[in-house]
C-alpha cells in the first residue's frame, strides 16, 4: 500500500487508471442491467397494486383499496393459512432431516454412501415437472394400496403437499448445512470431549450452536422454496388445499388484476422481512 502511494513513476499510472475506469464501466453497466431485469418487473407490479384503476395500462391515482379488499377476502385468507401451515411443517421436518443427512454424509463412512449421496441430490437437478408427476403417481399408488390393504381412505390435500415439499426441500438444507460442516474445526469437538462432554453434550453445546447459522440458512431456503412452489403443489393438491401461488394462478387466469399485484407485493414484503430477520439472528449469534 505505502509503496504504491510513494511510487513516483508517471508511466504506470495512466495505464492503471484506464484499466480501473473500464472495470468501473463494466461494473456500472452490470448493476444497471441487473436492476432493470430483476427489479423493474417487481417495482412495476408493486406500483400498480396501488393503482386506483382496474386496468393495468393506466395510472388513475393512489389507493389502498386492493389491500383492504384482500384482507377481507376469505379465499385469500384460507390460501395464506394453507401456505403457512405447509411451509412451517415442511421447513421444520426438512431442516431436521436435511441436517441429519448432512451429518451422515460428512461424518460417517458407510458402504452405500456414494449412492445415497447421488440419490439425495437428485431432487435438485430433476426437472420440477418430472418430480411433480412422480409424486402424483406415487401418492395415487400408495392410496390405492392403503385402501386395499387396510381400508384407509386417503386423499390429496395439505398432507400430500407437505410431504412433497419435504421431499424436494430437504436436499437443499443438506447442501447448505454440509458446506458449513465441511470447514468445521473438529478439534473443537475433541476439546469438548476432553473436558468431559459426552457425545450428546458435545453435539448439543458445540456442534449444534456452531452449525446454527448454516441450519438457519437452510431452513430459510426450505421455507422460501415451499411458500412459492407452484408446479409440484399444483399436481399434488386436493379440494380445499389451495395455497397462495395456486390462488394467484387461479385469479390470473381470469385476468391480471390489482388485487393479484397486492397479494404478490405482500408475499414479497414477507420474504424480505424473513431474510432480514434471519440475517439479524445470525449476526447476534456471532457477535
Amino acid at each position: 500500500m505505502t509503496s504504491e502511494a510513494t511510487m513516483p513513476s508517471a508511466l504506470v499510472l495512466p495505464k492503471r487508471r484506464w484499466r480501473v475506469s473500464f472495470g468501473w464501466l463494466a461494473l456500472y453497466l452490470n448493476v444497471v442491467l441487473a436492476f432493470v431485469f430483476l427489479y423493474a418487473p417487481i417495482v412495476v407490479m408493486s406500483i400498480f397494486s396501488f393503482n386506483a384503476s382496474r386496468q393495468m395500462q393506466v395510472w388513475m391515482g393512489f389507493t389502498l383499496d386492493w389491500y383492504v379488499r384482500m384482507l377481507h377476502d376469505e379465499r385469500v385468507r384460507i390460501a395464506a393459512q394453507n401456505s403457512l401451515i405447509v411451509a412451517l411443517v415442511s421447513t421444520l421436518v426438512s431442516t431436521v432431516i436435511g441436517t441429519l443427512a448432512a451429518m451422515a454424509l460428512e461424518r460417517t463412512r458407510f458402504r452405500v454412501k456414494r449412492l445415497y449421496e447421488g440419490a439425495m441430490y437428485l431432487p435438485i437437478i430433476v426437472p420440477e415437472i418430472v418430480m411433480a408427476i412422480a409424486l402424483l403417481v406415487f401418492f395415487n399408488l400408495a392410496f390405492t394400496w392403503l385402501d386395499r390393504l387396510f381400508g384407509l381412505q386417503l386423499n390429496f390435500g395439505l398432507g400430500t403437499i407437505t410431504i412433497a415439499h419435504i421431499a424436494f426441500s430437504f436436499p437443499f438444507v443438506a447442501v447448505v448445512v454440509r458446506a458449513r460442516l465441511a470447514d468445521f474445526d473438529r478439534t473443537l469437538e475433541q476439546a469438548a470431549q476432553d473436558l468431559g462432554a459426552t457425545d450428546w453434550q458435545t453435539f448439543r453445546y458445540i456442534t449444534l450452536p456452531l452449525l446454527m447459522p448454516g441450519i438457519i440458512a437452510g431452513a430459510l431456503l426450505a421455507f422460501t422454496l415451499s411458500i412459492d412452489d407452484f408446479v409440484i403443489t399444483f399436481f399434488n393438491a386436493g379440494v380445499g388445499s389451495t395455497t397462495l401461488p395456486l390462488e394467484i394462478y387461479g385469479r390470473v387466469r381470469r385476468g391480471i388484476t390489482p388485487d393479484v399485484n397486492a397479494l404478490s407485493t405482500v408475499m414479497l414484503l414477507a420474504s424480505i422481512v424473513l431474510v432480514l430477520g434471519s440475517l439479524l439472528l445470525q449476526r447476534r449469534r456471532t457477535a
Binding site: L188, Q190, A191, D194, A197, T286
Partner: protein, 394 residues
C-alpha cells in the same frame, strides 16, 4: 527439581496438591507413576507406523517433554494418552489403571491443543466453565473455581470477552485455564507455544514452568524445539521416527547423548569418525581418521577395532595457535572460517580433507587465543577434557 520452595498462594493450587502433603520434598522420580506407556504402538490405516513400541514412565508432578522433529509421532502419542486415538498395540496406564477403551471424557487428563481449540461461540468465562458444567458442579462453585483459574493465568477481567477479541498469548492462557480448572491428574500440552512469536514464547516458557510448579500437576509437553524442552523440563524423551531414543534430564540428554541423532538434534555436535585401538577401564583410545589417537571416557566401551563416532560439543573445545606453549592439542588443523557473534566466536577448523570441526569460543578475558581473533589460515591445535567427548556406536 524440588517444588518445596514455591509459595502456594491460589486456592486452586492448594486443593490440587492437598492430598500430596509431604510429597513436596520428594524427588520426582521417587513419586508414584501417573502415566505409564507400555510398548505403545500406532499404525495408521495407510500403513504409517506413527508410534513404535514406546515405553515411558511419567511420575507425579513431573514436567515431562516429548521432543523430536516434526512427524516423529509426538502428537499421536499424546492423542493416545488423551483417548482420541486407539493404540494398535501396547497400553496406556493412568494412575496404574489400564485405559483400554476408556473414552476421552472419562480420563482424568486434560489437553491444551496446539491451536487452543477455544469455543468461538462462548465467552472466556463460558469456555473455562465448560468442563465443570459438564460435570454438573454447583453454580457457585463453578464461579469460584473459574475466578481462581483466570487469576492463575492472570486474565481477571476478561470473563466477558470472546476468544477472537484476545491476542494469541491471551488465548493460550484461556486454553490453559480451561484445562487447569478441572484439576486434572495430568495435563497434556501439544506445542502450546508454537503459534506465538519468539519473545512471547520465551516469556510463556518461564511462566508455564512456574505455573506447573505452582499447581503441582503432571505436565506432558510436546515440542519440536530443543531449547524449549531444555528450559522447561524435568525429564525429556527424545523421539525420532516413532521411537523413543533416549530419556533423561536436560543435563543428561545434553551432556551424555546416547546416539548420534540425539547429539545432533539437541544442541550442536562435531562428529569425528575413528576406530577403537585400545580399551581401558571406563576409557577407550580412538584413532581418528586422518588424526591422532585420543582417549575418551566411555561407560560401556565397544570392542577393539570397532568403527565409532566421537561427538564433541563446539563449546567444549579449546582452541589455541599451534605454536603456543599450552598447545598440547589432541587434534591439529587450520582455521577456515571465523564468525564473530559478540559473546562468542565460531571457528570452522579443517582437520582432514573430509572433516571440519566447529569450535565455539567465548569472548572473555580467559581465552587461550590471547584475546584476539585467530585469522583465517592460522594453524591451530584443538583439545578437550576426556569426559567432554562421547563415543557413539550408532
Amino acid at each position: 527439581m524440588s517444588t518445596s520452595g514455591i509459595e502456594l498462594t491460589v486456592g486452586l493450587t492448594r486443593s490440587a496438591t492437598q492430598g500430596e502433603t509431604g510429597m513436596g520434598g520428594m524427588r520426582p522420580l521417587e513419586r508414584p507413576i501417573d502415566v505409564e506407556l507400555v510398548e505403545l504402538t500406532k499404525v495408521f490405516d495407510n500403513g504409517v507406523v506413527a508410534v513404535d513400541r514406546v515405553s515411558l514412565q511419567i511420575h507425579q508432578g513431573e514436567f515431562f517433554s516429548l521432543l523430536g522433529p516434526s512427524g516423529c509421532g509426538k502428537t499421536t502419542t499424546l492423542r493416545m494418552i488423551a483417548g482420541f486415538e486407539h493404540p494398535t498395540s501396547g497400553e496406556v496406564l493412568i494412575e496404574g489403571r489400564p485405559m483400554g477403551n476408556t473414552p476421552p471424557f472419562r480420563r482424568n487428563v486434560n489437553t491444551v491443543f496446539q491451536n487452543y481449540a477455544l469455543f468461538p461461540h462462548m465467552t472466556v468465562y463460558d469456555n473455562v466453565a465448560f468442563g465443570l458444567r459438564m460435570k454438573r458442579i454447583p453454580r457457585d462453585e463453578i464461579a469460584r473455581r473459574v475466578r481462581e483459574a483466570l487469576q492463575l493465568v492472570r486474565l481477571q477481567g476478561f470473563e466477558e470477552r470472546y476468544p477472537r477479541q484476545l491476542s494469541g498469548g491471551q488465548q493460550q492462557r484461556v486454553a490453559l485455564a480451561r484445562a487447569l480448572v478441572n484439576r486434572p491428574r495430568v495435563l497434556l500440552l501439544d506445542e502450546p507455544l508454537g503459534a506465538l512469536d519468539l519473545k512471547l514464547r520465551k516469556e510463556m516458557q518461564l511462566e508455564l514452568k512456574h505455573l506447573q510448579m505452582t499447581v503441582g500437576i503432571t505436565f506432558i509437553y510436546v515440542t519440536h524445539d530443543q531449547e524449549e524442552a531444555l528450559t522447561m523440563s524435568d525429564r525429556i524423551a527424545v523421539m525420532n521416527a516413532g521411537r523413543v531414543l533416549q530419556v533423561g534430564t536436560p543435563v543428561e540428554i545434553y551432556e551424555r547423548p546416547s546416539s548420534r541423532f540425539v547429539a545432533d538434534f539437541i544442541g550442536e555436535s562435531n562428529f569425528l569418525r575413528g576406530r577403537v585401538t585400545e580399551v581401558g577401564p571406563g576409557e577407550v583410545t580412538v584413532a581418528l581418521d586422518g588424526g591422532f589417537p585420543i582417549s575418551v571416557r566411555c561407560d560401556q566401551p565397544p570392542a577393539r577395532g570397532t568403527e565409532v563416532t566421537v561427538a564433541v560439543r563446539p563449546e567444549k573445545i579449546r582452541i589455541a595457535p599451534a605454536e603456543a606453549p599450552e598447545a598440547n592439542g589432541l587434534v591439529r588443523g587450520r582455521v577456515e572460517e571465523v564468525i564473530y557473534i559478540g559473546t562468542d566466536t565460531f571457528y570452522v577448523v579443517r582437520i582432514t580433507d573430509e572433516t571440519v570441526v566447529r569450535v565455539r569460543s567465548q569472548n572473555d578475558r580467559n581465552r587461550l587465543d590471547g584475546g584476539q581473533l585467530l585469522p583465517v589460515g592460522t594453524p591451530v591445535s584443538l583439545d578437550w577434557a576426556p569426559d567432554a567427548a562421547r563415543v557413539l556406536t550408532e
